[in-house]
Amino acid sequence: MTNPVQVPTNVLIVGVGGQGVIMVSKVLATLCQNHGYAVKQSEVHGMAKRGGAVFSHVRFGPQVWSPTIPEGEADVLVALEWAEGLRWLSFLKPDTGTFIADCQRIVPPFACRNRGRGAEASYAPQTPEEIIQQVHAGYAMDATTMATNLGNLRAANTVLLGALSTALDFAVDDWLATIPQFVPPASIDINLAAFAAGREWALAGEKRVDANAEGPHVSYTEIRHAQVDTVVEIVEERCKGCDICVKLCPERCLRLNDSLVAELVLPDLCTGCHMCEWLCPDFAISVTNTPVPEPA
Protein backbone atom coordinates (compact mmCIF):
# COMPACT_ATOMS: atom_id res chain seq x y z
CA MET A 1 0.00 0.00 0.00
CA THR A 2 0.94 3.66 -0.34
CA ASN A 3 2.92 4.93 2.56
CA PRO A 4 0.44 7.11 4.44
CA VAL A 5 3.22 9.37 5.68
CA GLN A 6 3.62 11.06 2.31
CA VAL A 7 0.26 11.02 0.48
CA PRO A 8 -3.24 10.31 1.69
CA THR A 9 -4.39 6.74 1.69
CA ASN A 10 -7.86 6.33 0.21
CA VAL A 11 -10.36 3.75 1.37
CA LEU A 12 -13.77 3.63 -0.26
CA ILE A 13 -16.49 1.66 1.50
CA VAL A 14 -19.73 0.91 -0.35
CA GLY A 15 -22.84 -1.13 0.23
CA VAL A 16 -26.59 -0.78 0.63
CA GLY A 17 -28.50 0.69 3.55
CA GLY A 18 -28.58 -1.37 6.72
CA GLN A 19 -25.36 -3.29 6.13
CA GLY A 20 -23.04 -1.23 8.30
CA VAL A 21 -21.00 0.79 5.80
CA ILE A 22 -20.86 3.66 8.23
CA MET A 23 -19.65 1.42 11.06
CA VAL A 24 -16.72 0.23 8.95
CA SER A 25 -15.73 3.76 8.05
CA LYS A 26 -16.07 4.96 11.64
CA VAL A 27 -13.77 2.23 12.91
CA LEU A 28 -11.21 3.08 10.27
CA ALA A 29 -11.45 6.83 10.80
CA THR A 30 -11.06 6.47 14.57
CA LEU A 31 -8.07 4.21 14.14
CA CYS A 32 -6.39 6.70 11.83
CA GLN A 33 -7.14 9.55 14.18
CA ASN A 34 -5.57 7.65 17.08
CA HIS A 35 -2.45 7.31 14.97
CA GLY A 36 -2.25 11.03 14.55
CA TYR A 37 -3.28 11.22 10.91
CA ALA A 38 -5.46 13.89 9.43
CA VAL A 39 -8.68 12.11 8.46
CA LYS A 40 -11.50 13.10 6.16
CA GLN A 41 -14.62 11.02 6.00
CA SER A 42 -17.59 11.82 3.79
CA GLU A 43 -20.60 9.70 3.25
CA VAL A 44 -23.86 9.44 1.41
CA HIS A 45 -26.71 7.48 2.88
CA GLY A 46 -28.53 6.99 -0.43
CA MET A 47 -32.16 7.00 0.42
CA ALA A 48 -32.37 6.68 4.15
CA LYS A 49 -34.07 3.35 3.82
CA ARG A 50 -32.88 -0.15 3.66
CA GLY A 51 -31.66 -1.02 0.21
CA GLY A 52 -30.58 2.47 -0.77
CA ALA A 53 -27.00 2.76 -1.97
CA VAL A 54 -24.60 3.96 0.71
CA PHE A 55 -20.97 4.87 0.34
CA SER A 56 -18.30 6.38 2.51
CA HIS A 57 -14.95 7.89 1.54
CA VAL A 58 -12.19 7.71 4.15
CA ARG A 59 -8.94 9.54 3.40
CA PHE A 60 -6.06 9.79 5.82
CA GLY A 61 -2.46 10.99 5.80
CA PRO A 62 -0.31 13.82 7.09
CA GLN A 63 -2.55 16.28 5.32
CA VAL A 64 -5.83 15.72 3.51
CA TRP A 65 -7.58 18.47 1.62
CA SER A 66 -10.46 17.13 -0.41
CA PRO A 67 -12.86 14.80 1.38
CA THR A 68 -13.72 12.74 -1.68
CA ILE A 69 -11.68 10.18 -3.51
CA PRO A 70 -11.24 10.82 -7.23
CA GLU A 71 -11.95 8.02 -9.70
CA GLY A 72 -9.03 5.64 -10.02
CA GLU A 73 -7.50 6.76 -6.72
CA ALA A 74 -8.81 4.35 -4.10
CA ASP A 75 -6.17 2.19 -2.47
CA VAL A 76 -8.81 -0.12 -1.09
CA LEU A 77 -12.41 -0.61 -2.15
CA VAL A 78 -14.51 -2.44 0.44
CA ALA A 79 -17.89 -3.58 -0.87
CA LEU A 80 -20.45 -4.95 1.55
CA GLU A 81 -22.59 -5.92 -1.40
CA TRP A 82 -21.33 -7.40 -4.63
CA ALA A 83 -23.05 -5.29 -7.26
CA GLU A 84 -22.31 -2.06 -5.41
CA GLY A 85 -18.66 -3.13 -5.46
CA LEU A 86 -18.78 -3.57 -9.22
CA ARG A 87 -20.43 -0.21 -9.65
CA TRP A 88 -17.52 1.50 -7.87
CA LEU A 89 -14.73 -0.62 -9.34
CA SER A 90 -13.47 2.22 -11.53
CA PHE A 91 -12.52 4.12 -8.37
CA LEU A 92 -9.87 1.57 -7.51
CA LYS A 93 -6.22 2.33 -8.37
CA PRO A 94 -5.74 0.14 -11.43
CA ASP A 95 -2.24 -1.05 -10.63
CA THR A 96 -2.07 -1.24 -6.88
CA GLY A 97 -5.63 -1.21 -5.54
CA THR A 98 -7.16 -3.89 -3.37
CA PHE A 99 -10.78 -4.98 -3.87
CA ILE A 100 -12.52 -6.59 -0.90
CA ALA A 101 -16.12 -7.63 -1.43
CA ASP A 102 -18.82 -9.78 0.05
CA CYS A 103 -20.03 -11.92 -2.82
CA GLN A 104 -23.50 -11.93 -1.23
CA ARG A 105 -26.00 -10.21 -3.43
CA ILE A 106 -28.61 -7.92 -2.00
CA VAL A 107 -30.41 -6.57 -4.93
CA PRO A 108 -29.98 -2.84 -4.42
CA PRO A 109 -32.47 -0.50 -5.99
CA PHE A 110 -30.08 1.17 -8.34
CA ALA A 111 -27.98 -1.76 -9.40
CA CYS A 112 -30.75 -2.70 -11.77
CA ARG A 113 -31.43 0.75 -13.21
CA ASN A 114 -30.49 2.28 -16.52
CA ARG A 115 -30.84 -0.81 -18.56
CA GLY A 116 -32.29 -0.34 -21.98
CA ARG A 117 -35.70 -1.65 -22.78
CA GLY A 118 -35.75 -5.34 -23.34
CA ALA A 119 -32.30 -5.74 -21.84
CA GLU A 120 -31.75 -9.03 -20.14
CA ALA A 121 -32.91 -8.67 -16.57
CA SER A 122 -29.73 -10.06 -15.14
CA TYR A 123 -27.93 -8.95 -12.06
CA ALA A 124 -24.19 -8.18 -12.51
CA PRO A 125 -23.26 -10.69 -15.19
CA GLN A 126 -19.56 -11.29 -14.50
CA THR A 127 -18.62 -14.10 -12.16
CA PRO A 128 -16.57 -13.23 -9.08
CA GLU A 129 -13.59 -15.10 -10.58
CA GLU A 130 -13.63 -12.85 -13.60
CA ILE A 131 -13.71 -9.73 -11.48
CA ILE A 132 -10.96 -10.79 -9.10
CA GLN A 133 -8.75 -11.60 -12.10
CA GLN A 134 -9.11 -7.99 -13.27
CA VAL A 135 -7.82 -6.34 -10.10
CA HIS A 136 -4.37 -6.11 -8.58
CA ALA A 137 -5.40 -7.75 -5.31
CA GLY A 138 -8.90 -8.98 -4.63
CA TYR A 139 -11.02 -10.94 -2.24
CA ALA A 140 -14.51 -12.18 -3.07
CA MET A 141 -15.53 -13.43 0.33
CA ASP A 142 -18.73 -14.98 1.56
CA ALA A 143 -18.69 -12.69 4.56
CA THR A 144 -22.40 -13.06 5.22
CA THR A 145 -22.16 -16.80 5.60
CA MET A 146 -19.01 -16.50 7.69
CA ALA A 147 -20.80 -14.10 10.00
CA THR A 148 -23.92 -16.27 10.08
CA ASN A 149 -21.82 -19.25 11.08
CA LEU A 150 -20.35 -17.19 13.90
CA GLY A 151 -23.89 -16.52 15.11
CA ASN A 152 -24.75 -13.07 13.75
CA LEU A 153 -25.35 -12.26 10.13
CA ARG A 154 -25.03 -8.56 10.90
CA ALA A 155 -21.34 -8.98 11.67
CA ALA A 156 -20.56 -9.48 7.96
CA ASN A 157 -19.22 -5.94 7.83
CA THR A 158 -16.71 -6.83 10.57
CA VAL A 159 -15.56 -9.85 8.57
CA LEU A 160 -14.72 -7.45 5.75
CA LEU A 161 -13.03 -5.17 8.23
CA GLY A 162 -10.78 -8.12 9.08
CA ALA A 163 -9.85 -8.45 5.43
CA LEU A 164 -9.32 -4.69 5.20
CA SER A 165 -6.86 -4.88 8.09
CA THR A 166 -4.54 -6.95 5.92
CA ALA A 167 -4.35 -4.18 3.35
CA LEU A 168 -3.43 -1.39 5.78
CA ASP A 169 -0.44 -0.95 8.13
CA PHE A 170 -2.14 -0.85 11.50
CA ALA A 171 -1.38 -3.32 14.27
CA VAL A 172 -4.02 -5.98 14.87
CA ASP A 173 -4.36 -4.94 18.49
CA ASP A 174 -5.28 -1.41 17.46
CA TRP A 175 -8.10 -2.75 15.32
CA LEU A 176 -9.28 -5.01 18.12
CA ALA A 177 -9.29 -2.08 20.54
CA THR A 178 -11.31 0.14 18.23
CA ILE A 179 -14.06 -2.22 17.08
CA PRO A 180 -15.81 -2.54 20.47
CA GLN A 181 -16.50 1.20 20.47
CA PHE A 182 -18.79 0.83 17.49
CA VAL A 183 -20.77 -2.36 18.12
CA PRO A 184 -23.47 -3.09 20.69
CA PRO A 185 -21.95 -4.48 23.91
CA ALA A 186 -23.74 -7.80 23.53
CA SER A 187 -22.12 -8.54 20.18
CA ILE A 188 -18.55 -7.46 20.88
CA ASP A 189 -17.30 -11.04 21.07
CA ILE A 190 -18.94 -12.09 17.86
CA ASN A 191 -17.56 -9.05 16.10
CA LEU A 192 -14.03 -9.69 17.30
CA ALA A 193 -14.32 -13.28 16.11
CA ALA A 194 -15.68 -12.05 12.79
CA PHE A 195 -12.73 -9.69 12.43
CA ALA A 196 -10.30 -12.53 13.09
CA ALA A 197 -12.06 -14.80 10.61
CA GLY A 198 -12.00 -12.17 7.88
CA ARG A 199 -8.36 -11.36 8.51
CA GLU A 200 -7.33 -14.97 8.45
CA TRP A 201 -9.26 -15.62 5.24
CA ALA A 202 -7.61 -12.72 3.45
CA LEU A 203 -4.11 -13.52 4.68
CA ALA A 204 -4.27 -16.81 2.80
CA GLY A 205 -3.60 -15.21 -0.60
CA GLU A 206 -3.52 -12.08 -2.75
CA LYS A 207 -6.51 -13.14 -4.83
CA ARG A 208 -9.17 -15.36 -3.38
CA VAL A 209 -12.69 -16.25 -4.38
CA ASP A 210 -15.00 -18.05 -2.00
CA ALA A 211 -16.25 -21.37 -3.27
CA ASN A 212 -19.82 -20.25 -2.62
CA ALA A 213 -19.57 -17.28 -4.94
CA GLU A 214 -21.63 -17.85 -8.06
CA GLY A 215 -23.92 -16.11 -10.51
CA PRO A 216 -27.70 -15.81 -10.20
CA HIS A 217 -30.04 -18.45 -11.43
CA VAL A 218 -33.58 -19.72 -11.49
CA SER A 219 -34.60 -22.86 -9.69
CA TYR A 220 -37.17 -24.96 -11.44
CA THR A 221 -38.99 -27.85 -9.83
CA GLU A 222 -41.50 -30.04 -11.51
CA ILE A 223 -43.90 -32.07 -9.41
CA ARG A 224 -46.05 -34.75 -10.98
CA HIS A 225 -49.42 -35.26 -9.35
CA ALA A 226 -52.04 -37.69 -10.47
CA GLN A 227 -53.92 -35.26 -12.69
CA VAL A 228 -51.72 -32.20 -12.90
CA ASP A 229 -48.11 -31.35 -13.31
CA THR A 230 -47.04 -28.56 -11.02
CA VAL A 231 -44.03 -26.46 -11.79
CA VAL A 232 -42.62 -24.16 -9.14
CA GLU A 233 -40.15 -21.66 -10.52
CA ILE A 234 -38.13 -19.43 -8.23
CA VAL A 235 -36.15 -16.57 -9.76
CA GLU A 236 -33.23 -16.30 -7.41
CA GLU A 237 -32.24 -12.82 -8.43
CA ARG A 238 -35.62 -11.47 -7.40
CA CYS A 239 -35.92 -13.27 -4.07
CA LYS A 240 -35.06 -11.07 -1.10
CA GLY A 241 -35.36 -13.78 1.50
CA CYS A 242 -38.36 -12.29 3.29
CA ASP A 243 -39.65 -15.63 4.56
CA ILE A 244 -43.25 -14.95 3.51
CA CYS A 245 -43.51 -17.93 1.18
CA VAL A 246 -41.72 -20.14 3.68
CA LYS A 247 -44.01 -19.35 6.59
CA LEU A 248 -47.25 -18.98 4.68
CA CYS A 249 -47.06 -22.04 2.46
CA PRO A 250 -49.83 -24.23 3.88
CA GLU A 251 -47.69 -27.32 3.41
CA ARG A 252 -44.46 -25.75 4.63
CA CYS A 253 -42.50 -27.15 1.75
CA LEU A 254 -40.24 -24.17 1.18
CA ARG A 255 -37.27 -22.91 3.15
CA LEU A 256 -34.57 -20.31 2.83
CA ASN A 257 -31.22 -21.73 1.78
CA ASP A 258 -27.83 -20.55 3.01
CA SER A 259 -27.85 -17.54 0.75
CA LEU A 260 -31.30 -16.61 2.05
CA VAL A 261 -33.04 -17.53 -1.15
CA ALA A 262 -36.29 -19.48 -1.16
CA GLU A 263 -36.00 -23.09 -2.20
CA LEU A 264 -38.59 -25.82 -2.67
CA VAL A 265 -37.22 -28.53 -0.41
CA LEU A 266 -40.22 -30.79 0.01
CA PRO A 267 -41.67 -30.91 -3.49
CA ASP A 268 -43.74 -33.97 -2.73
CA LEU A 269 -45.84 -32.01 -0.29
CA CYS A 270 -46.53 -29.17 -2.70
CA THR A 271 -50.16 -29.07 -3.76
CA GLY A 272 -49.71 -26.34 -6.33
CA CYS A 273 -51.97 -24.03 -4.33
CA HIS A 274 -50.26 -20.80 -5.58
CA MET A 275 -50.10 -19.28 -2.10
CA CYS A 276 -46.34 -18.69 -2.34
CA GLU A 277 -46.69 -17.17 -5.77
CA TRP A 278 -49.49 -14.80 -4.78
CA LEU A 279 -47.92 -13.61 -1.57
CA CYS A 280 -44.37 -13.18 -2.79
CA PRO A 281 -43.96 -9.38 -2.82
CA ASP A 282 -41.11 -9.65 -5.29
CA PHE A 283 -42.77 -11.73 -7.99
CA ALA A 284 -39.99 -14.28 -7.55
CA ILE A 285 -42.16 -17.40 -7.61
CA SER A 286 -44.46 -18.69 -10.23
CA VAL A 287 -46.54 -21.81 -9.90
CA THR A 288 -47.98 -23.43 -12.98
CA ASN A 289 -50.42 -26.31 -12.97
CA THR A 290 -50.86 -28.15 -16.22
CA PRO A 291 -53.35 -30.98 -16.59
CA VAL A 292 -51.67 -34.27 -17.41
CA PRO A 293 -53.04 -35.49 -20.73
CA GLU A 294 -55.11 -38.67 -20.58
CA PRO A 295 -53.06 -41.62 -21.79
CA ALA A 296 -54.03 -42.28 -25.38
Binding site: G18, M47, A48, K49, R50, G51, V107, P108, P109, F110, C112, R113, R115, G116, R117, G118, A119, A121, Y123, V228, E237, R238, K240, G241, C242, D243, I244, V246, K247, L248, G272, H274, W278, L279, C280, P281, D282, F283, A284, S286, T288, N289, T290, P291
Partner: protein, 282 residues
Protein backbone atom coordinates in the same frame (compact mmCIF):
# COMPACT_ATOMS: atom_id res chain seq x y z
CA UNK B 1 -47.22 -21.42 -20.29
CA UNK B 2 -49.81 -20.17 -17.86
CA UNK B 3 -52.31 -22.85 -18.79
CA UNK B 4 -53.77 -22.91 -15.33
CA UNK B 5 -56.48 -25.38 -14.62
CA UNK B 6 -57.40 -23.63 -11.44
CA UNK B 7 -58.25 -19.98 -11.52
CA UNK B 8 -57.42 -18.03 -14.60
CA UNK B 9 -54.62 -17.06 -16.91
CA UNK B 10 -53.30 -14.09 -14.99
CA UNK B 11 -49.54 -13.75 -15.21
CA UNK B 12 -48.02 -10.83 -13.36
CA UNK B 13 -45.15 -10.76 -15.86
CA UNK B 14 -47.57 -9.49 -18.50
CA UNK B 15 -48.27 -6.38 -16.45
CA UNK B 16 -44.93 -5.34 -15.01
CA UNK B 17 -41.89 -3.80 -16.61
CA UNK B 18 -39.57 -6.71 -16.41
CA UNK B 19 -36.52 -4.60 -17.21
CA UNK B 20 -37.17 -2.71 -13.97
CA UNK B 21 -37.18 -5.86 -11.86
CA UNK B 22 -36.21 -6.66 -9.16
CA UNK B 23 -38.10 -3.75 -7.64
CA UNK B 24 -36.53 -1.56 -5.00
CA UNK B 25 -38.81 -2.39 -2.08
CA UNK B 26 -37.39 -3.97 1.07
CA UNK B 27 -37.66 -7.70 1.68
CA UNK B 28 -41.17 -8.56 2.82
CA UNK B 29 -42.69 -5.17 1.99
CA UNK B 30 -46.41 -5.71 1.49
CA UNK B 31 -46.55 -3.16 -1.32
CA UNK B 32 -45.47 -5.82 -3.80
CA UNK B 33 -48.42 -8.00 -2.86
CA UNK B 34 -50.79 -5.07 -3.25
CA UNK B 35 -49.32 -4.37 -6.67
CA UNK B 36 -50.00 -7.94 -7.71
CA UNK B 37 -53.61 -7.68 -6.53
CA UNK B 38 -54.04 -4.44 -8.44
CA UNK B 39 -52.65 -5.88 -11.66
CA UNK B 40 -54.81 -8.92 -11.17
CA UNK B 41 -57.90 -6.74 -10.88
CA UNK B 42 -56.88 -4.90 -14.06
CA UNK B 43 -56.54 -8.26 -15.76
CA UNK B 44 -59.94 -9.42 -14.49
CA UNK B 45 -61.54 -6.32 -15.94
CA UNK B 46 -59.71 -6.83 -19.24
CA UNK B 47 -58.46 -3.27 -19.22
CA UNK B 48 -55.93 -2.87 -22.03
CA UNK B 49 -52.56 -1.62 -20.83
CA UNK B 50 -52.75 1.23 -23.31
CA UNK B 51 -55.87 2.50 -21.60
CA UNK B 52 -54.35 2.32 -18.16
CA UNK B 53 -52.71 5.29 -16.46
CA UNK B 54 -51.10 4.89 -13.06
CA UNK B 55 -50.29 8.01 -11.08
CA UNK B 56 -48.33 7.92 -7.85
CA UNK B 57 -46.83 10.36 -5.36
CA UNK B 58 -43.66 10.20 -3.32
CA UNK B 59 -42.57 7.58 -0.84
CA UNK B 60 -42.19 3.83 -1.06
CA UNK B 61 -45.69 3.62 -2.54
CA UNK B 62 -44.76 6.27 -5.08
CA UNK B 63 -42.22 4.04 -6.72
CA UNK B 64 -44.78 1.38 -7.62
CA UNK B 65 -46.01 3.22 -10.70
CA UNK B 66 -42.61 2.73 -12.32
CA UNK B 67 -43.04 -1.04 -12.27
CA UNK B 68 -46.37 -1.12 -14.09
CA UNK B 69 -46.31 -1.61 -17.84
CA UNK B 70 -48.75 1.22 -18.56
CA UNK B 71 -48.60 4.99 -18.92
CA UNK B 72 -47.21 5.86 -15.54
CA UNK B 73 -46.65 9.13 -13.72
CA UNK B 74 -44.54 9.48 -10.62
CA UNK B 75 -45.57 12.93 -9.43
CA UNK B 76 -44.85 15.12 -6.40
CA UNK B 77 -45.36 14.38 -2.72
CA UNK B 78 -49.02 14.24 -1.79
CA UNK B 79 -50.27 15.47 -5.15
CA UNK B 80 -50.98 12.39 -7.24
CA UNK B 81 -54.74 12.81 -6.86
CA UNK B 82 -54.52 16.38 -8.13
CA UNK B 83 -52.41 15.36 -11.13
CA UNK B 84 -54.81 12.49 -11.75
CA UNK B 85 -57.78 14.87 -11.62
CA UNK B 86 -56.34 16.81 -14.54
CA UNK B 87 -55.49 13.65 -16.39
CA UNK B 88 -58.89 12.02 -15.87
CA UNK B 89 -60.77 15.16 -16.92
CA UNK B 90 -58.61 15.55 -20.01
CA UNK B 91 -58.83 11.88 -20.92
CA UNK B 92 -62.12 10.27 -19.90
CA UNK B 93 -61.19 7.31 -22.10
CA UNK B 94 -58.47 6.24 -19.66
CA UNK B 95 -58.69 4.13 -16.52
CA UNK B 96 -56.85 6.21 -13.97
CA UNK B 97 -55.40 4.52 -10.90
CA UNK B 98 -53.68 6.45 -8.16
CA UNK B 99 -51.24 4.70 -5.86
CA UNK B 100 -50.56 6.60 -2.68
CA UNK B 101 -49.35 5.96 0.85
CA UNK B 102 -50.59 6.90 4.30
CA UNK B 103 -48.29 9.92 4.52
CA UNK B 104 -48.70 10.90 0.88
CA UNK B 105 -52.48 10.61 0.90
CA UNK B 106 -53.51 11.59 4.42
CA UNK B 107 -50.85 14.06 5.57
CA UNK B 108 -49.35 16.21 2.83
CA UNK B 109 -52.08 15.19 0.38
CA UNK B 110 -55.04 15.25 2.78
CA UNK B 111 -56.72 18.18 1.11
CA UNK B 112 -56.56 16.58 -2.33
CA UNK B 113 -57.87 13.33 -0.89
CA UNK B 114 -61.04 14.75 0.67
CA UNK B 115 -61.81 16.91 -2.33
CA UNK B 116 -61.31 14.01 -4.72
CA UNK B 117 -63.82 12.06 -2.65
CA UNK B 118 -66.22 14.98 -2.77
CA UNK B 119 -65.87 15.55 -6.50
CA UNK B 120 -66.41 11.88 -7.38
CA UNK B 121 -64.41 11.95 -10.59
CA UNK B 122 -63.93 8.50 -12.06
CA UNK B 123 -60.68 7.06 -10.73
CA UNK B 124 -59.46 4.63 -8.11
CA UNK B 125 -57.13 5.53 -5.30
CA UNK B 126 -55.24 2.63 -3.74
CA UNK B 127 -53.73 3.89 -0.51
CA UNK B 128 -51.05 1.65 0.93
CA UNK B 129 -51.12 2.04 4.70
CA UNK B 130 -48.00 0.78 6.44
CA UNK B 131 -48.26 3.28 9.29
CA UNK B 132 -44.87 4.82 8.60
CA UNK B 133 -42.75 7.05 6.38
CA UNK B 134 -40.42 4.34 5.15
CA UNK B 135 -38.49 6.12 2.42
CA UNK B 136 -37.23 8.78 4.79
CA UNK B 137 -36.21 6.30 7.43
CA UNK B 138 -39.25 5.68 9.63
CA UNK B 139 -41.07 8.77 10.88
CA UNK B 140 -44.55 8.86 12.44
CA UNK B 141 -47.48 9.08 10.01
CA UNK B 142 -51.16 9.95 10.45
CA UNK B 143 -51.94 6.24 10.76
CA UNK B 144 -49.15 5.12 13.10
CA UNK B 145 -50.85 3.17 15.90
CA UNK B 146 -50.62 4.62 19.37
CA UNK B 147 -47.54 3.94 21.45
CA UNK B 148 -45.58 2.73 18.44
CA UNK B 149 -41.98 3.81 18.12
CA UNK B 150 -40.78 5.75 15.13
CA UNK B 151 -37.73 7.96 14.65
CA UNK B 152 -39.83 11.00 15.47
CA UNK B 153 -41.77 9.39 18.32
CA UNK B 154 -38.85 7.99 20.30
CA UNK B 155 -41.05 7.49 23.36
CA UNK B 156 -44.02 6.06 21.48
CA UNK B 157 -46.70 7.74 19.40
CA UNK B 158 -49.15 9.86 21.33
CA UNK B 159 -51.02 11.30 18.35
CA UNK B 160 -54.46 9.99 17.43
CA UNK B 161 -54.84 8.31 14.04
CA UNK B 162 -57.01 8.77 10.99
CA UNK B 163 -59.46 6.08 9.96
CA UNK B 164 -58.84 6.69 6.27
CA UNK B 165 -61.91 4.82 5.06
CA UNK B 166 -64.25 6.63 7.42
CA UNK B 167 -62.73 9.87 6.19
CA UNK B 168 -63.19 8.90 2.54
CA UNK B 169 -66.78 7.82 3.08
CA UNK B 170 -67.63 10.98 4.99
CA UNK B 171 -66.09 13.09 2.23
CA UNK B 172 -68.29 11.37 -0.33
CA UNK B 173 -66.25 8.75 -2.15
CA UNK B 174 -68.73 6.56 -3.97
CA UNK B 175 -66.83 3.35 -3.22
CA UNK B 176 -64.76 2.73 -0.10
CA UNK B 177 -63.08 -0.46 1.00
CA UNK B 178 -60.21 -1.86 3.02
CA UNK B 179 -58.28 -5.11 2.92
CA UNK B 180 -55.07 -6.64 4.24
CA UNK B 181 -52.40 -7.97 1.91
CA UNK B 182 -52.63 -11.49 3.28
CA UNK B 183 -56.16 -11.71 1.90
CA UNK B 184 -54.94 -11.22 -1.61
CA UNK B 185 -57.96 -12.82 -3.28
CA UNK B 186 -60.33 -10.58 -1.35
CA UNK B 187 -58.11 -7.61 -2.11
CA UNK B 188 -58.17 -8.42 -5.78
CA UNK B 189 -61.94 -8.59 -5.73
CA UNK B 190 -62.19 -5.35 -3.79
CA UNK B 191 -59.92 -3.56 -6.24
CA UNK B 192 -61.85 -4.98 -9.15
CA UNK B 193 -65.11 -3.59 -7.78
CA UNK B 194 -63.42 -0.30 -6.99
CA UNK B 195 -62.07 0.14 -10.51
CA UNK B 196 -65.40 -0.90 -12.02
CA UNK B 197 -67.23 1.70 -9.94
CA UNK B 198 -68.11 4.76 -11.99
CA UNK B 199 -66.86 7.47 -9.68
CA UNK B 200 -64.15 8.01 -7.12
CA UNK B 201 -63.15 4.79 -5.36
CA UNK B 202 -60.93 4.64 -2.33
CA UNK B 203 -59.24 1.41 -1.27
CA UNK B 204 -57.01 1.23 1.77
CA UNK B 205 -54.58 -1.66 1.75
CA UNK B 206 -53.08 -2.60 5.09
CA UNK B 207 -49.48 -3.26 4.14
CA UNK B 208 -46.46 -4.11 6.23
CA UNK B 209 -43.17 -2.30 6.59
CA UNK B 210 -41.10 -5.01 8.17
CA UNK B 211 -37.64 -3.59 7.83
CA UNK B 212 -38.26 -0.30 9.57
CA UNK B 213 -41.60 -0.21 11.37
CA UNK B 214 -41.71 -3.90 12.23
CA UNK B 215 -38.15 -3.95 13.46
CA UNK B 216 -38.52 -0.80 15.55
CA UNK B 217 -41.62 -2.17 17.24
CA UNK B 218 -40.77 -5.85 17.53
CA UNK B 219 -43.66 -6.84 15.33
CA UNK B 220 -41.88 -9.87 13.92
CA UNK B 221 -41.01 -10.63 10.33
CA UNK B 222 -43.37 -10.10 7.40
CA UNK B 223 -45.35 -13.33 7.76
CA UNK B 224 -46.01 -12.60 11.43
CA UNK B 225 -46.98 -9.00 10.71
CA UNK B 226 -49.31 -10.08 7.94
CA UNK B 227 -50.96 -12.68 10.14
CA UNK B 228 -51.47 -10.31 13.04
CA UNK B 229 -52.82 -7.60 10.73
CA UNK B 230 -55.33 -10.04 9.42
CA UNK B 231 -56.43 -11.20 12.84
CA UNK B 232 -56.85 -7.69 14.18
CA UNK B 233 -59.32 -6.68 11.46
CA UNK B 234 -63.09 -6.98 11.50
CA UNK B 235 -63.93 -8.56 8.17
CA UNK B 236 -67.17 -6.64 7.94
CA UNK B 237 -69.12 -6.37 4.79
CA UNK B 238 -66.70 -8.20 2.59
CA UNK B 239 -69.76 -9.94 1.41
CA UNK B 240 -71.73 -7.04 2.78
CA UNK B 241 -73.29 -9.16 5.45
CA UNK B 242 -72.57 -9.11 9.14
CA UNK B 243 -70.02 -7.47 11.31
CA UNK B 244 -67.83 -9.64 13.48
CA UNK B 245 -68.99 -9.12 17.07
CA UNK B 246 -65.60 -9.67 18.64
CA UNK B 247 -62.58 -7.41 18.05
CA UNK B 248 -64.73 -4.33 18.58
CA UNK B 249 -61.78 -1.97 18.18
CA UNK B 250 -60.33 -3.39 14.99
CA UNK B 251 -60.65 -1.67 11.66
CA UNK B 252 -63.28 -3.07 9.34
CA UNK B 253 -62.29 -4.71 6.10
CA UNK B 254 -64.37 -5.26 3.00
CA UNK B 255 -66.63 -2.87 1.14
CA UNK B 256 -67.36 -0.11 3.63
CA UNK B 257 -69.36 2.36 1.57
CA UNK B 258 -71.00 2.34 -1.81
CA UNK B 259 -73.22 5.12 -3.01
CA UNK B 260 -74.80 6.04 -6.27
CA UNK B 261 -73.67 9.58 -6.99
CA UNK B 262 -73.22 11.28 -10.34
CA UNK B 263 -69.72 10.94 -11.70
CA UNK B 264 -68.16 14.39 -11.97
CA UNK B 265 -66.62 14.12 -15.43
CA UNK B 266 -69.91 13.00 -16.99
CA UNK B 267 -71.82 15.72 -15.19
CA UNK B 268 -69.39 18.37 -16.40
CA UNK B 269 -69.44 17.14 -19.97
CA UNK B 270 -73.24 17.02 -19.99
CA UNK B 271 -73.26 20.64 -18.89
CA UNK B 272 -70.87 21.70 -21.67
CA UNK B 273 -72.87 19.75 -24.27
CA UNK B 274 -75.95 21.62 -23.19
CA UNK B 275 -74.16 24.94 -23.45
CA UNK B 276 -72.87 24.17 -26.90
CA UNK B 277 -76.27 22.93 -27.99
CA UNK B 278 -77.85 26.19 -26.87
CA UNK B 279 -75.29 28.20 -28.72
CA UNK B 280 -76.02 26.20 -31.85
CA UNK B 281 -79.76 26.89 -31.63
CA UNK B 282 -79.30 30.53 -30.75
Amino acid sequence: MKDVDVLDDFDIEDYIRQDQMPHFLCPGCGHGIALRALMWAIHDLAIPKDKLAVVSGIGCSGRLSGYVDASTFHTTHGRPLAFATGLALARPDLHVIVISGDGDCLAIGGNHMIHSCRRNLNMTCMMLNNEIYGMTGGQVSPTTSSDRFTTTTPAGNTEPVFDACALAAAAGASFVGREVTLQILALRELLRDAIANDGFSFVEVISDCTEIYGRKNDLGASPEMMMSQKSSMRPFAYRNTVDVPFRPTGLKTGVLAKTDRPEYGKAYRAMTEKLRGKKGRG
